[in-house]
C-alpha cells in the first residue's frame, strides 16, 4: 500500500471511511490514518465525521473526502 494507491481509491469514490480503507487495504486503521495525514495536510483530502453527532459506533468512522479539482489519473 502506497500513498498513491490510497489517493486513487479515494479519488474514484470521492468519500471513503477509514474503516473501508482499512478493510480494502488489509491494514490497521492507525497505519492508514498516519498515511492519510500526508494527504489531508496538502488540503487535497478533507477529513469529516460521518454524521453530525457521531456517537453511534465504536470504530474509526471518520470519512476522507476528496477535495481537489485534479482529474482522475488512470495510469
Amino acid at each position: 500500500m502506497t500513498l498513491t494507491q490510497l489517493k486513487h481509491y479515494i479519488q474514484t469514490r470521492q468519500a471513503v471511511t477509514l474503516n473501508e480503507l482499512s478493510s480494502v487495504f488489509a491494514c490497521d486503521p492507525k497505519t492508514i490514518e498516519l498515511m492519510m495525514q500526508h494527504w489531508t495536510h496538502t488540503g487535497m483530502v478533507d477529513v469529516k465525521l460521518s454524521c453530525d453527532d457521531c456517537l453511534g459506533c465504536m470504530t474509526a468512522c471518520q470519512t476522507y473526502v476528496w477535495q481537489s479539482n485534479e482529474s482522475l489519473d488512470y495510469q
Binding site: L3, P29, K30, E33, H41, T42, M58, Q62
Partner: protein
C-alpha cells in the same frame, strides 16, 4: 567498541520503556497503550564494574517531520534526535505492525547515524503466523536487525553483542527516478554532502532547494513520503510472510462483543465492578492478618519493650503509638493496593484497557474531549501526578487544559487506602458497592468539569479516537506480580515518607498541652492538637463530623500533604485512646486464625463482618464510635475523594499550566467536594430531620449553581487573558 550513550526511539507503544527498564533495572511506568512515556527518561546500563552505557528512553513518535499536530512529548523526541548527541540509536519496532513502524526507521536511516533495529514482540508475531526474514531487512536497511522480546532477560545480552560488533554502513535503499536524481545531485553539490539521503529530510524541513521540485501530480512532501512508502512496500513484501491464522479472527470476535455499540459500556462497568468486588474480598481477608500482626509487633510490642526497659511513659507512646503505628498503618493497606494493582495490571496486559479507552471515547467526545485524554485518566487511577504529565501528548492547548483540570477527580490509589479502611470498618457488607460508587462519583465530577469547561474554551468536536489495538493476550502471572509489587512498593515508600513522621508528630502534639505537660487517657482532650482541631471541626458539622470526631478533621487537613496520610493520621489519633498494650502473641494468632477463616469461607461477594469485628479491637473501634452514622462516613469519603488534590498534584498543575489554573483547580475541587458532601449527608439523614435537611439541600443546590457559574466565568477570563498574553508575546 562499546558506545557511551544510546537512545531508544520508536513509535508509541513499541516497547521502549520495557526495554529501558530491562537494561537499566529502573522502574519507569510501562503501558499497553501509546502515550505513557511523555518525557525523556535517563538511566545507566551497567555492563561490568567499570563500564556502563547511558541510555535515553525518548517519548514515542511516528515521524521526524510531523504535521504540527503532535504533542509536546513527540516534539521533544524530534528535537533530541535532530540534535544527535548519541553514539548509537536503537530503533524499537513492533513485529506485529512492522509496516507502520518502518516509516520512522527509514527516516532514521536517512540521518545516516549508527543504528540498530530491534524488532520487539517477535514471539507474538510467531503466534500470529507472521514470519519475518531478518536477513532481508538487515540487507535492505544496511543495519543490524535483532528479533527480540523486550521483557526477555536475554535482550540485554543480545543488544550488547550487537553494539560491540557494530559496523556502520550507509543506507542506500530507494530507487530514485530521474526527477529525484537530478534534485539530489543539485542538493549534494550545493551542500557538499557525502550522505546520499539526508537531503530528503532537509527538503521536508523546508530547504530553499525545494523550489526546484517539479511534479505532475504529487506535492513535494507527499512525493518524499511516497518514496519511503514504496520502499517499505517492497521491503515488507520480501521480508514479511503472513500465513493464515485463527488468532486474528478470535480477537475480532471478542472485539465484536466487548466493543459492541450497546453492550460495550455495560460490559466495561461490569468488569470494573468485578474487579472491586474481588479486590475487596481478597484484600479484606489479608488485611485482617496484616493488621493484627503489625499492630501486635509494632505498636504493642514496642510499648511492652519500652515499659520493660523502664523508659518514661511518653517514650513508649512516641515509639509505639507514633512511629510503630505509622509503620503499621502503612503496611496495613498494602494488601488492598497489591490486589488492586494486580487487577488493573491484568486488564492492561490482557489488552482490555485499550478497548476500555475506545469505549469511553464516545462519551468523551460528547463533552468535546479527544479519546487521547483517556490515557491520562487511566494513569490517574494509579496516581494523578504522572497522569497530568501524560496530557503532554495532546497537541491542542485547550484539550490539554481540560484534561489536566479533569484528571484530579480520578480516584487515585492513595484515596483507595482511605476507602479500604473506612469501608471495611463501616460497611462490612457490600463495601465494594460503596467503593464502586465513589469511583463513579469521581468520574462524574470530572465529566461535570469538562462539561462546564467546554463552552468557556470553545472546543471543537474532536475526531473519533483511532487507537492502536494491542492483541488480546494471556497475562503472565510473573509479570503481573512484578507490576503489582513495583507499584505497591512505590506507593508504600511514598506513603511511609509522610505517614511515619506525621504520625510521630501528631502523637507528640496529642500527648502534650500548651504548657508542655505530658497527658494520658482522657486528659488528651486538652492537648494542643485536640484544642485546635475542635475549633476547625465546626466547618465539617454540615457533613456530620462533630466535636468528638476531631481526629477526622486532622486526617483531612493532613491529606492536603498527600492523600495517603489521611488514614495514617486518623489511625494514629484514634489509636491513642486505646489505653495499655495488649499481649502480643495472642493478637498475632488471632489475626492469623481470622485470616485463614476468611479464606476458607471465601465468597466473591464480600462480607467483611470478621474484618469489622477484628477492627473493633483496635483504633478502628474508636473510629466506629466517632462517626455518628453511615451517612456521615459516606459524606466524609465523598469529601476525601474530591477535595484539594494532594500537594504534588497541585505543584504539577502549576508547572504544566501556571499558578492561575492551579488555583482554579484547587478552589473548584474543594468547593465542589464540600457542597456535594453536605448534599450526601443531608440526603442520608433526611428521615431524622426532614425540615432542616430539605433546607440544607435547597441551599446547597443554589450554592452549587452559583459555584458552577463562577467557575465558568473564571475559566473564561483566565483563558482569554492567557490567549492575550500569548498573542502579545
Amino acid at each position: 567498541m562499546i558506545p557511551k550513550k544510546i537512545a531508544l526511539i520508536g513509535n508509541p507503544n513499541s516497547g521502549k520503556t520495557t526495554l529501558f527498564n530491562r537494561l537499566t533495572r529502573m522502574n519507569y511506568r510501562e503501558g499497553n497503550y501509546s502515550g505513557v512515556t511523555v518525557e525523556s527518561c535517563f538511566g545507566s546500563w551497567s555492563i561490568d564494574h567499570n563500564t556502563s552505557i547511558d541510555v535515553v528512553d525518548l517519548p514515542g513518535c511516528y515521524s521526524l517531520q510531523p504535521f504540527g499536530q503532535d504533542g509536546q512529548d513527540m516534539q521533544e523526541t524530534i528535537r533530541t534526535i535532530h540534535e544527535g548527541n548519541f553514539d548509537c540509536i536503537v530503533n524499537v519496532v513492533d513485529a506485529l505492525n512492522l509496516q507502520r513502524h518502518l516509516y520512522l526507521t527509514h527516516q532514521l536511516r536517512e540521518l545516516d547515524v549508527p543504528m540498530i533495529l530491534l524488532i520487539n514482540r517477535i514471539d507474538l508475531a510467531q503466534l500470529h503466523n507472521i514470519d519475518i526474514d531478518v536477513d532481508v531487512l538487515s540487507n535492505q536497511l544496511n543495519c543490524p536487525v535483532l528479533p527480540t522480546v523486550a521483557i526477555d532477560p536475554q535482550v540485554s545480552k543480545t543488544l550488547l553483542d550487537a553494539l560491540v560488533n557494530y559496523k556502520h554502513s550507509p543506507f542506500s535503499g530507494y530507487k530514485l527516478n530521474d526527477k529525484w536524481q537530478s534534485l539530489q545531485s543539485k542538493f549534494m553539490q550545493e551542500e557538499s554532502l557525502v550522505s546520499q539521503y539526508g537531503f530528503l529530510l532537509k527538503l521536508e524541513a523546508g530547504h530553499p532547494l525545494k523550489s526546484y521540485y517539479q511534479s505532475d501530480s504529487l506535492p513535494m512532501s507527499v512525493g518524499i513520503a511516497e518514496l519511503r512508502y514504496q520502499h517499505i512496500e517492497s521491503l515488507t513484501a520480501q521480508a514479511v510472510v503472513k500465513r493464515k491464522s485463527n488468532t486474528k479472527s478470535i480477537h475480532r470476535r471478542i472485539d465484536q462483543i466487548v466493543l459492541h455499540d450497546w453492550l460495550g459500556l455495560p460490559i466495561f462497568f461490569l468488569v470494573m465492578y468485578g474487579l472491586f468486588a474481588l479486590t475487596i474480598s481478597l484484600a479484606g481477608n489479608l488485611q485482617v492478618g496484616v493488621d493484627a500482626i503489625t499492630h501486635a509487633l509494632l505498636v504493642d510490642g514496642v510499648r511492652y519493650t519500652a515499659d520493660w526497659l523502664l523508659l518514661p511513659s511518653w517514650w513508649g507512646s512516641f515509639l509505639g503509638l507514633g512511629i510503630g503505628q505509622g509503620i503499621a498503618t502503612t503496611l496495613t493497606f498494602t494488601p488492598v493496593l497489591f490486589c488492586m494493582f494486580m487487577g488493573l495490571g491484568f486488564l492492561e496486559h490482557s489488552g482490555y484497557m485499550s478497548r476500555a479507552a475506545l469505549l469511553m471515547d464516545q462519551l468523551m467526545r460528547k463533552i468535546g474531549l479527544p479519546g487521547r485524554s483517556l490515557v491520562s485518566f487511566i494513569i490517574g487511577f494509579g496516581c494523578n501526578v504522572p497522569a497530568i504529565m501524560a496530557a503532554r501528548h495532546l497537541d491542542q492547548p485547550r484539550e490539554r487544559l481540560m484534561t489536566i483540570l479533569m484528571t484530579p477527580f480520578m480516584s487515585c490509589g492513595a484515596r483507595l487506602t482511605i476507602y479500604a479502611v473506612m469501608v471495611t470498618a463501616f460497611f462490612p457488607r457490600g463495601g465494594h458497592n460503596i467503593i464502586f460508587i465513589l469511583y463513579l462519583i469521581g468520574i462524574a465530577a470530572a465529566i461535570l468539569t469538562g462539561y462546564l469547561l467546554q463552552p468557556s474554551l470553545a472546543l471543537e468536536q474532536p475526531l473519533p479516537l483511532v487507537m492502536e489495538m494491542p492483541d488480546y493476550q494471556k497475562p503472565k502471572i510473573r509479570l503481573l506480580m512484578h507490576y503489582a509489587r513495583r507499584q505497591t512498593i512505590h506507593f508504600v515508600r511514598r506513603a511511609a515518607k509522610y505517614i511515619i513522621p506525621l504520625s510521630a508528630l501528631l502523637t507528640l502534639l496529642m500527648h502534650f498541652n500548651a504548657h508542655g505537660q505530658y497527658l494520658a487517657g482522657n486528659q488528651m482532650e486538652q492537648s494542643i492538637l485536640a484544642s485546635t482541631a475542635k475549633v476547625l471541626t465546626v466547618f465539617f458539622y454540615p457533613i456530620g463530623i462533630h466535636d468528638n470526631n476531631w481526629p477526622a478533621t486532622v486526617g483531612l487537613l493532613s491529606g492536603l500533604l498527600a492523600k495517603e496520610v489521611v488514614v495514617g493520621s486518623m489511625n494514629a489519633l484514634y489509636g491513642q485512646v486505646v489505653v495499655g498494650a495488649e499481649p502480643v502473641w495472642p493478637q498475632i494468632l488471632h489475626g492469623i486464625h481470622d485470616m485463614l477463616h476468611g479464606f476458607l469461607h471465601f465468597d466473591l461477594v464480600p462480607s467483611l463482618d470478621i474484618v469489622s469485628n477484628q477492627f473493633h479491637a483496635s483504633a478502628y473501634g474508636e473510629m466506629l464510635n466517632a462517626f455518628d452514622s453511615s451517612a456521615s462516613v459516606f459524606a466524609f469519603l465523598v469529601f476525601a475523594l474530591l477535595y484539594f488534590p494532594c500537594m504534588s498534584t497541585i505543584v504539577v498543575i502549576r508547572k504544566e499550566l501556571g499558578r492561575g489554573w492551579a488555583s482554579i483547580s484547587l478552589v473548584w475541587s474543594t468547593m465542589l467536594a464540600y457542597f456535594l458532601a453536605i448534599i450526601c449527608y443531608q440526603v442520608g439523614t433526611i428521615a431524622e430531620h426532614p425540615l432542616s435537611s430539605m433546607m440544607w439541600l435547597v441551599l446547597m443546590l443554589l450554592v452549587l449553581a452559583v459555584l458552577m457559574k463562577e467557575f465558568k466565568k473564571r475559566v473564561k477570563k483566565t483563558w482569554e487573558k492567557q490567549q492575550y498574553d500569548v498573542n502579545t508575546a
